[in-house]
């Protein structure tokens, strides 16, 4: 699959182990105890959305459900809170995957932003219905930081796929 419609480069297929390694690294980042710092990006949905768009046949709602549960447990949140939000995110990301890939990374990030916002909105609604207190509007800052990270993440996660098929000793990469 080509990175954008402008590039004529043909990428290598994504390796299964790399997809899941990146998801587990995101999970580890989500476990870093940052306290109540506002605007900490939500790593797991970011990487999930990336693979849902790039590899919709491999990473989808089932993966989102499992990783959502793992985040729920690590963060001491209600069981199913993150899982629910991530499953909806995965559904939306998979359904717009074909269209988003035609845009350059910045506009892709603008596609992703409302989905992250919806993810957080679902979690807030679930907890408010369950009787928790509203965490304040700063809570939603994290969807914006996550969306801003889409562009560097885009290049980082595609790096292994940029490798040439045959190794050439005269070429640096």
């Amino acid at each position: 699959m080509q990175p954008t419609h402008r590039s004529s480069r043909i990428l290598q297929p994504a390796k299964n182990w790399f997809v899941f390694l990146s998801l587990f690294v995101a999970l580890g980042l989500a476990y870093i105890p940052t306290g109540r710092l506002p605007g900490v990006p939500d790593w797991v949905p970011l990487v999930l959305a990336f693979w849902c768009i790039r590899e919709p046949l491999r990473v989808g709602m089932g993966t989102a459900f499992v990783f959502g549960l793992l985040v729920d447990i690590g963060q001491g949140a209600a069981m199913g809170q993150h899982a629910l939000a991530y499953v909806v995110l995965a559904y939306l990301a998979t359904s717009i995957a074909r269209r988003v890939l035609w845009f350059p990374p910045l506009q892709q990030a603008l596609h992703i932003l409302p989905m992250f916002f919806l993810t957080q909105l679902i979690m807030v609604l679930v907890r408010l219905v369950a009787g928790a207190e509203f965490p304040g509007w700063w809570y939603f800052l994290s969807s914006f930081t996550s969306a801003a990270l889409w562009i560097p993440l885009h290049f980082l996660l595609l790096l292994p796929q940029y490798r040439p098929v045959d190794r050439d000793d005269n070429r640096p990469i």
Partner: protein, 300 residues
């Protein structure tokens, strides 16, 4: 599988459509949420999965620990000296209080002996350290570095040097989750130290607490100290909890009583987990041989 419709049969088996999968997973999530938040059925699942994710959690907490340890290491000598002086002062103060306490304890023991009562039930306690705030922004919880292996169990009270800070709500094998007093769902039975008036204290958001269900005519004044009443059989009686900040008697029936916690509930690191008061010893069986030794039975 009739082909009566206008759709062609599928060439590739793709399983259920995405929408169906979404609906199934969403309903599973909603069922889990209800089971967890309303009925607390999923504690076993949570325990099991938390053991699996524990190494990853420890690895994630390592950089934060490192930064914190480094900050502590580079603390200046002046600060340590100041602390030392202050500690000496407070030790003198504490020694005085300890003397008085010992005296009171002796008196108490003698009085109890006089009344032929059983000795006061012993209290087990576990010293613990706060590892970090739970990242869930909807509630106020902290994670301790002691768990069920060290004798911490759900329901135990957590105190620091000044007073109560919360209650253990989940005990994992090597960690425990403490819900702070300022959490919206945390309730503590208290009484006003001045006149013994009882009430229930709830978290009110923004680090405040509220004494709910107080009739507007009752005798509560700003500055009153609230302590645990021990009525629930979980918390020990007499632990300082909060101080009344404002009393608003505007409404017809109930007064709005806002309180501040006595202890620095959200900024404490060293805590003590207090075990439940042990169950009272069972009543001795009546012995027909020596009726003189039989204790009078309690009514009700």
């Amino acid at each position: 599988m009739s082909l009566a419709g206008h759709q062609s049969p599928p060439v590739f088996k793709q399983g259920p459509t995405p929408l169906v999968r979404l609906l199934v997973l969403v309903s599973v999530c909603l069922a889990m949420l209800v089971a967890d938040l309303r009925f607390r059925y999923l504690e076993v699942v949570r325990q099991g999965l938390s053991v699996a994710t524990w190494p990853l959690q420890m690895a994630a907490a390592a950089p934060v620990d490192f930064v914190r340890d480094a900050a502590v290491y580079f603390a200046t000598l002046v600060e340590v000296q100041q602390d030392n002086a202050e500690l000496r002062r407070s030790q003198l103060d504490a020694a005085q209080r300890l003397l008085r306490f010992e005296q009171l304890e002796r008196d108490n023991a003698q009085l109890r002996e006089l009344l032929q009562m059983a000795p006061a039930p012993g209290v087990r306690s576990v010293a613990a350290e706060v590892l970090y705030d739970a990242p869930d922004p909807f509630s106020r919880k902290v994670i301790l570095d002691r768990g069920s292996q060290h004798g911490v169990a759900a329901g135990m009270a957590v105190v620091n040097a000044q007073g109560m800070i919360g209650q253990v709500t989940r005990a994992y094998p090597v960690q425990a989750e403490v819900t702070l007093l300022t959490d919206k769902d945390q309730a503590v039975p208290v009484q006003v130290a001045r006149n013994g008036l009882r009430g229930v204290l709830f978290g009110a958001g923004l680090g405040r607490m509220e004494l709910r269900f107080t009739l507007s005519g009752v005798d509560v004044l700003p500055g009153d100290r609230l302590e645990t009443s021990g009525l629930d059989g979980i918390f020990l009686a007499g632990l300082p909890v909060a101080e009344v900040v404002s009393v608003d008697r505007e409404s017809q029936t109930f007064a709005v009583v806002l309180c501040d916690p006595v202890a620095a509930v959200e900024r404490t690191t060293q805590v003590l987990v207090l075990g439940r008061a042990e169950a009272p010893p069972s009543r001795p069986q009546p012995q027909p041989q020596s009726p003189a030794l039989r204790r009078p039975e309690r009514k009700g």
